[in-house]
């Protein structure tokens, strides 16, 4: 095989010189050894560095004989197939395969690699040696993040505010749309609106208008008459001044003492004494004595309770009932038709279904098993109704008419025909006898009614008087009120005090008379309630009370409680 080797020698100033030679052999050897077909005078070449084997058809295999390899068309290889045009670099030489001239099977052109080219390649092939060379770009990432946060944090939500379609599309998508603006969970009462920002938020860059609140809260009352007390704090303040949502369940309704004491601690000055309310600051240290609602009736018998300070002395409860608690709570028990019974509070006092107050006392349920309304010793199981004098007399008249007609009534004062029992076959009563029987029955009924009401039964518990003008046959039974709200300005509930015993607050077992007011007062010095172990302040203190239950105004009093609408008519 005949190889044509042409050496290109640069002579400076761009002129080239060629040296041509012929090599015979199957392979073209390349290396630093003297016996190599192509000799390289460069230490970067091994003695026998590489060889080129002709494969025929203009194809060659280039093989590296050392681990360092050869650079073929710019890349280091250990073995590669090459054709005319391929350049092999070893050390400082470039051997280019070229189309052989006539009479030759193969041809190469050998020349030195240009130094400038080597230098350029060293730069381009060098690995990055600083972060800037690795392609990391601060500025690019900065712009990307800036645009990303502005897009998702501002552009999309703002667009969603104005474009309802986008709003509904992104409604349930996390991190896209208005949900990205959500500053925190709504109070649970407002969860139904959690997906609809605009049910509260209206015009951009303006605070939430009260109109948005009043859409639902139509029945919310004013705090005080907004016309009479046109104070900025109550007449002009927005709902959202106090009611701050997006703070979970903790923030929406204010319960702090300052909510009220801010104004109420010097209320009289603020409103120029135009109020019946006393100044109040802290429940534990700066709250007036309670005013209790004592039962009272006006001349027409209408229930008109009076509010009286618990400091007033004497403080008499006029329940209308004669009822010594101590007697009923006798620890020895009470003699009853069913034997000896020990009573406790729960026998008569049960909570109302809501648990705040106690249910009214019911005579038939609570009293009658002992306080029977029987009227005639001879017929002890018959009783009259409770609470209706006319009905009582009517019942008795009917009852004694029947007795007179049947006879057999064992009373020496009764006529003979009433005393004797009539038997079948006896002749009928004469008309005179019938008239006499009826007179007896009517007299007996009247006598029994008078006796029941005036001396025997009713007066045991009730105060009864005679008044010819009264509707109940001239009898007046004093009205009764034994259960109800005693403190109408506060919302006390028994349900929250279930851990206490009744006697802790109500000294009923020591009360000899129903005139004793068994309601606890605010407590502390000068208390009327000293007999019961606990008054309110014994457990409750102001908001910052130490060693006591911190109680704020809202625990007992309402804020929106005036009988006027929330906003004065404009």
């Amino acid at each position: 095989m005949k190889w044509f080797i042409r050496r290109v020698i640069k002579k400076g100033k761009g002129s080239l010189q060629f040296e041509e030679e012929i090599h015979f052999g199957e392979t073209l050897t390349i290396g630093r050894a003297a016996n190599q077909a192509i000799f390289i005078n460069d230490l970067r070449a091994a003695l026998e560095h590489a060889r080129v084997v002709a494969l025929g058809n203009g194809r060659f295999r280039v093989e590296s004989l050392v681990a360092a390899g050869v650079r073929i068309d710019g890349r280091f290889e250990h073995s590669a197939t090459a054709t005319a045009g391929s350049a092999i670099e070893v050390g400082n030489l470039r051997i280019t395969l070229v189309d052989p001239p006539a009479d030759f099977e193969a041809a190469v052109e050998v020349g030195l690699v240009d130094k400038a080219e080597v230098a350029a390649r060293e730069v381009s092939e060098a690995l990055p040696q600083s972060l800037a060379e690795t392609g990391l770009r601060k500025r690019r990432w900065s712009w990307a993040l800036l645009l990303l946060t502005l897009t998702f944090g501002l552009a999309i939500p703002v667009t969603a505010h104005f474009v309802p379609t986008l709003r509904s599309l992104t409604k349930d998508v996390p991190a896209i749309g208005m949900s990205t603006w959500d500053t925190g969970p709504l109070a649970s009462a407002h969860h139904t609106m959690a997906n609809d920002c605009q049910s509260c938020h209206g015009t951009p860059f303006s605070v939430i208008a009260d109109d948005k609140c009043i859409v639902c809260h139509t029945n919310t009352k004013a705090h005080a008459d907004p016309v009479r007390y046109a104070l900025p704090e109550i007449a002009a303040a927005r709902c959202a001044h106090c009611h701050r949502d997006h703070n979970g369940d903790t923030g929406l309704v204010r319960a702090d003492q300052e909510l009220c004491s801010d104004c109420h601690r010097n209320l009289t000055e603020r409103v120029n004494n135009d109020t019946q309310l006393a100044n109040v600051g802290d429940f534990g240290t700066d709250h007036p004595q309670f005013k209790v609602l004592l039962p009272a009736w006006d001349a027409q018998g209408k229930f008109t309770p009076e509010r009286v300070s618990m400091d007033q002395k004497p403080l008499t409860e006029r329940s209308g009932l004669k009822f010594p608690h101590s007697k009923h709570l006798n620890p020895e028990g009470l003699k009853t038709p069913d034997g000896v019974k020990k009573l406790d509070c729960a026998n008569c006092h049960a909570p109302e279904p809501g648990g705040a107050l106690l249910a009214p006392i019911d005579f038939e349920q609570h009293c009658q098993s002992c306080h029977r309304l029987d009227f005639d010793l001879r017929i002890p199981d018959r009783q009259v109704v409770h609470g209706d004098v006319a009905e009582v007399q009517f019942t008795l008249a009917e009852f004694y008419s029947k007795v007179a007609l049947e006879g057999g009534y064992d009373d020496v004062k009764a006529p003979v025909f009433v005393r004797e029992r009539r038997r079948p076959g006896q002749p009928a009563m004469t008309a005179q006898e019938q008239r006499d029987a009826l007179v007896w029955a009517r007299d007996k009924a009247t006598e029994m009614t008078d006796s029941l009401i005036n001396s025997r039964t009713c007066t045991v518990c009730h105060t009864v008087s005679k008044d010819p003008a009264a509707t109940q046959l001239g009898w007046v039974v004093a009205p009764v009120r034994v259960a109800g709200a005693w403190y109408e300005k506060a919302s006390f509930t028994h349900a929250k005090h279930a851990t206490m015993g009744c006697k802790d607050c109500h000294a009923a077992d020591l009360s000899l008379s129903s005139a004793d007011l068994l309601i606890p007062d605010i407590g502390a010095v000068g208390s009327n309630n000293a007999v019961a172990p606990y008054a309110c302040r014994d457990c409750h203190g102001g908001e910052n009370a130490k060693h006591k239950l911190g109680s704020t105004c809202i625990d007992c009093h309402g804020f929106h409680q005036a009988p006027m609408p929330l906003r004065a008519a404009k």
């Binding site: 230490l43 970067r44 091994a46 003695l47 050392v66 681990a67 360092a68 390899g69 280091f76 060098a126 690995l127 990055p128 040696q129 600083s130 972060l131 800037a132 060379e133 690795t134 990391l136 601060k138 990432w141 900065s142 712009w143 990307a144 993040l145 800036l146 645009l147 990303l148 946060t149 502005l150 998702f152 944090g153 501002l154 939500p157 505010h161 996390p174 991190a175 949900s179 990205t180 603006w181 959500d182 500053t183 925190g184 969970p185 920002c197 938020h201 951009p204 860059f205 303006s206 605070v207 939430i208 001044h241 106090c242 701050r244 703070n247 903790t250 923030g251 204010r254 702090d256 300052e258």
Partner: protein, 297 residues
């Protein structure tokens, strides 16, 4: 006395930051907001305004540091203030929010801010620690000088290897051709250098030329080469090989120092690739945060 960015002018900005922090804490404790503490109380708005202005001022540092001089103090003073007031921002932001967080743009701004600040902490550490380490590592040289020296050593090694043995020359040649310093971000940060590979290759070549086919169990290249030396009858060969080992070891030491230099340089810079883009992300999130809370006041 030279003062660093931390003790600049007798810790001037540390005191400013401490006063700002203590003032914020006292105000937060004294403040009795309606409901729970949150960004919507007057103190919340106040701290939010302080925080937002601080962030803008901290971002302005990127502009300020590009100017050689300014009417508002030296860059070093600015950097000292940047570090201390940036740290204070963590406290101010949490007090502003009343420690409320959620899945929203507001907390995103907080998170970005914290990432920026903590990447900045690494920056402070890097600036205080690595320059001295770099100086020590370079040992009065420069990276370019060391690279030039490596090239010089490569030439000498080849020359010497050629005198010792063909296979050793081959190994050295291969290692020169394939050893490169630097690389991608991870390679730079983890100081990958293949001079150890070069030594292993040399060891293989030595074994080959010594006629041993199996690897030495001792495994230590140097030990193995000393063995090889001991087995050489020819004194000149021994001397050449000894010199070769010396050259390769010097190259290895140099390459290690260059790789370390690249690593330290990369560590000095890498945090900025987090700090700066995230701070621009923060600017976007902060803008969205401020505008959104007033958009839906």
């Amino acid at each position: 006395m030279h003062d660093s960015i931390l003790d600049y002018r007798g810790f001037r900005y540390l005191w400013v930051a401490l006063i700002l922090s203590i003032g914020s804490i006292v105000a937060y404790l004294w403040h009795d907001p309606i409901g729970v503490p949150n960004g919507g109380s007057w103190l919340g708005y106040t701290l939010g305004t302080i925080g937002a202005l601080l962030i803008l001022w901290l971002l302005w540092f990127g502009v300020r540091k590009r100017r050689y001089s300014g009417a508002t103090g030296s860059v070093r003073g600015w950097l000292s203030a940047h570090v201390y007031l940036g740290t204070t921002l963590i406290l101010i932001a949490f007090l502003h929010a009343g420690f409320q967080v959620g899945w929203n743009i507001h907390t995103l701004a907080l998170v970005l801010m914290l990432l920026v600040i903590f990447s900045g902490f690494f920056g402070v550490y890097a600036y205080l620690r690595y320059p001295a380490m770099m100086t020590r590592n370079r040992a009065d040289s420069t990276r370019d000088a060391m690279l030039a020296e490596i090239r010089e050593l490569d030439g000498q090694t080849l020359q010497l290897a050629d005198k010792v043995d063909k296979s050793i020359h081959d190994a050295i040649l291969s290692s020169i051709q394939h050893s490169q310093l630097g690389g991608g971000v991870w390679a730079q940060l983890t100081r990958r250098d293949d001079s150890a590979i070069a030594l292993a290759k040399l060891k293989e070549a030595v074994l080959k030329s010594n006629g041993e086919s199996k690897q030495s169990k001792s495994g230590q290249t140097m030990v193995m080469m000393v063995d090889f030396l001991a087995n050489q009858a020819n004194d000149t060969q021994s001397e050449n090989l000894r010199r070769l080992i010396d050259l390769v070891s010097r190259k290895r030491a140099l390459a290690t120092r260059v790789a370390r230099d690249i690593q330290l340089q990369a560590l000095m810079e890498i945090w900025l690739y987090i700090h700066i883009p995230l701070s621009l992300g923060l600017l976007g999130a902060l803008t969205a945060h401020v505008l959104s809370v007033f958009f839906y006041w």
